[in-house]
Structure formats: structure tokens, C-alpha cells
Subunit: 166 residues, 2 copies
DNA sequence: CTACCATACGTAATACTATAACGTTTCATC
DNA sequence: GATGAAACGTTATAGTATTACGTATGGTAG
């Protein structure tokens, strides 16, 4: 059965394109910025991009160990720190997990739609939300450093599948 | 030195009123719902309300141990689970910490302004933000279960203090 | 009454997440 | 070829959270 009517941008797509685009962009960004996308960092980024699901640090570690026996927690966390600093991945606070950044323009003005069923995370730009939110923050005389908007629920794809089962 | 011009709702207030209001409300809500605000749960809620700072589970545990030697992690986490279920506290995902809920009407349509300096957390209702956000979520065909908007930065009080030092 | 059941709690063990500390390698620069 | 910075290796430890199983309590059906 195919899901022809699902509306999520994550459905039915050529994921290899996501991966290669993400890695190409990362390589490009790192060259421009003069920072090193070392083999470990590159591999961790690739592992994160294996799917659109949020992935845990120790799961990454297990997978990294398959090709790099000596990998330790610090190995992963250092790579994650680097990738976050460079805005190449996002930390999902409510899951203690990580996803590849798919902000089209890497402006990181995004909200995360986290599916509690399939665990995929969709990043949406939501310009209007950010505008109104910025205004609200300003009204509170609060000096913004960073913001995280994490929405939990059921994605359109999973909802459609559940609907089909009835 | 007093800070007479700070604008945060958390400044210069009678915190005993916050605590007693929160505890009274909690007792009332639990009676209405037919759930038990046991002595442990009540005490944990009181400890959380000692300040407007987000508090960690193991810090709560240490303080609970002072009056209840046998307290263990499960003691705290069970109380926290209950209080969250009842909407009497919020979990701050980005801090692995907890704050008392101060939604005026316990509708939990709030955003959290988290000060990185003093660690106080202000809960703001932000109706307009929620409206626009709800619309955005609907457009994504996403079925909402819960949402967390966590803003990090410097609160007006801390900003004013920093200003005074110059 | 008492057998039953649900809720809350006691207790121990364990799992999961993350960082600290210090040594080594590498490579560009002086 | 000494110096210094960045990345990584390695070990230990800190911090966060859950599982599992046993006990106590109180309400309720029989
Ligand atoms: Zn993809
Ligand atoms: Zn889903
Ligand atoms: Zn107060
Ligand atoms: Zn502050």
C-alpha cells in the first residue's frame, strides 16, 4: 500500500537527496568558515542523516563503533558539539536527541514538529510565529539568546496510516 | 541597593503569596479531581515553589532527604510525575528541571522565559503567539499533543543589574 | 467480616545521558 | 626544531531517570 495523500514533506521522498544535499552543504559551510569537518564529524553527521528520526547520542555511538571500535562517549559528544555550533544539526531538548538541520537557509528560525508515533521530526520555518514571538519577548524586556519550539503530536503520515486501518 | 525600575513580574514581589496561592490552588484542584495530594507530593510542590528558579530533581531529592531520610530517586520522580500530570508544575525540557506552574488559569498555553543568569523562569501566556502557532500546526496537518516554547536569554531584572554595574 | 483490588510508597538495582580531566597526535607557524 | 592550538584517545565520574518487586493502606464487593 502506498500513501498517496499524505501531506508531510517527509513522505515519499528521495532520501538519498536529503543526505547528499546535507553533506554537501556541510562541507561547503565548513570550508567557507575555515573549520574542520573531520572524518569523525562527517561520519556522525552522515549517521544522523540516516533518517529524519531524532537519534540519541548513545545510539550514534553504537553505530559509530561498528566502523570505529575505539569510539567513546566523548567522541560522539565532541562531534555533536561541533555540529550544533555550526548549526548543522539541532538538539531536540524534549527527547535528548538530535536531528540534521534542514532549515532551507540555515537561519534556524524554526519550530520542530515531533511525531510521537514514528519519531520523525519536521522542521518548519514559521516566519509569522517567529515574528509574533519576537514581539512578545520584546514586550517582556527579555534579551533573547536562543529559542526552542518543540511540538509533540502525530504527523500527517502516521495519522493517515491510522485512518487507513479503520 | 534596590531595583526600582525592573519590569519583570518576578521582581520585588511577596513570594510567600506565590507559594501559598500555589499550594492552596493545588489542594483545591486535587480535591475537585478526586486525586491525592499526599504529604510527599505536597512537600515536593512546596520545595519547587521555594523560588521561581527551575529546580533539578536531585536537588529536590537532597532537600527532601533533610526531612525524610528514606527519600530515593523514585520518591521524587513519582511526585514529579503526579504534579506534571495534574498540571501543577512544568518540566523545563532544555534544563532537565522543574518549575511551579503559574498559568493564571491553568490553561497551560504558555511560553517560558528562562534567564541564563539568575535561572528564574517566567511563564507568559502569549495568546497571540499560540493562535498563530496553532494555525501553523494545522497547516502542517499535524495533530497536536503538547507543545513547549522555551526561550533562553537574560531577564529584565538581570539586565538592569548589569546596567547598573557600568 | 474478609477477600480483593487499586493506589501509593519503600527499596535496590540498573539504565541512560553527559562531562571532566589529562595525555597524545598533528600540523601550521615562528 | 620549539611553540601553540585543535582534535582526538582514554579513563573516570557526574548527573538524570526508570525498572522491578515488595509492602502498606484503604475502599469495596461478596
Ligand atoms: Zn529525507
Ligand atoms: Zn509520524
Ligand atoms: Zn514568587
Ligand atoms: Zn535573570
Amino acid at each position: 500500500m502506498t500513501i498517496s495523500f499524505a501531506s508531510s514533506q517527509l513522505s515519499e521522498h528521495d532520501h538519498k537527496k536529503c543526505v547528499s544535499a546535507a553533506l554537501d552543504t556541510a562541507e561547503h559551510i565548513c570550508i567557507i568558515r575555515g573549520v574542520q569537518l573531520t572524518p569523525i564529524r562527517h561520519k556522525v553527521l552522515e549517521l544522523i542523516w540516516e533518517s529524519h528520526k531524532a537519534v540519541k547520542a548513545y545510539d550514534l555511538l553504537d553505530r559509530l563503533k561498528l566502523i570505529m571500535e575505539a569510539a567513546k562517549p566523548a567522541t560522539i559528544y565532541r562531534a555533536l558539539d561541533f555540529l550544533i555550533e555550526q548549526g548543522l544539526i539541532h538538539r531536540v531538548e524534549s527527547l535528548n536527541a538530535f536531528i540534521g538541520c534542514s532549515c532551507s537557509d540555515h537561519q534556524h528560525e524554526q519550530l520542530l514538529l515531533i511525531c510521537n508515533r514514528c519519531h520523525e521530526v519536521e522542521e518548519r520555518s514559521a516566519v509569522k510565529v517567529m515574528e509574533v514571538l519576537a514581539h512578545e519577548i520584546e514586550q517582556a524586556n527579555f534579551i533573547l539568546h536562543s529559542k526552542a519550539i518543540e511540538i509533540h503530536g502525530i504527523c500527517s503520515k502516521c495519522d493517515a496510516q491510522a485512518g487507513n486501518k479503520n
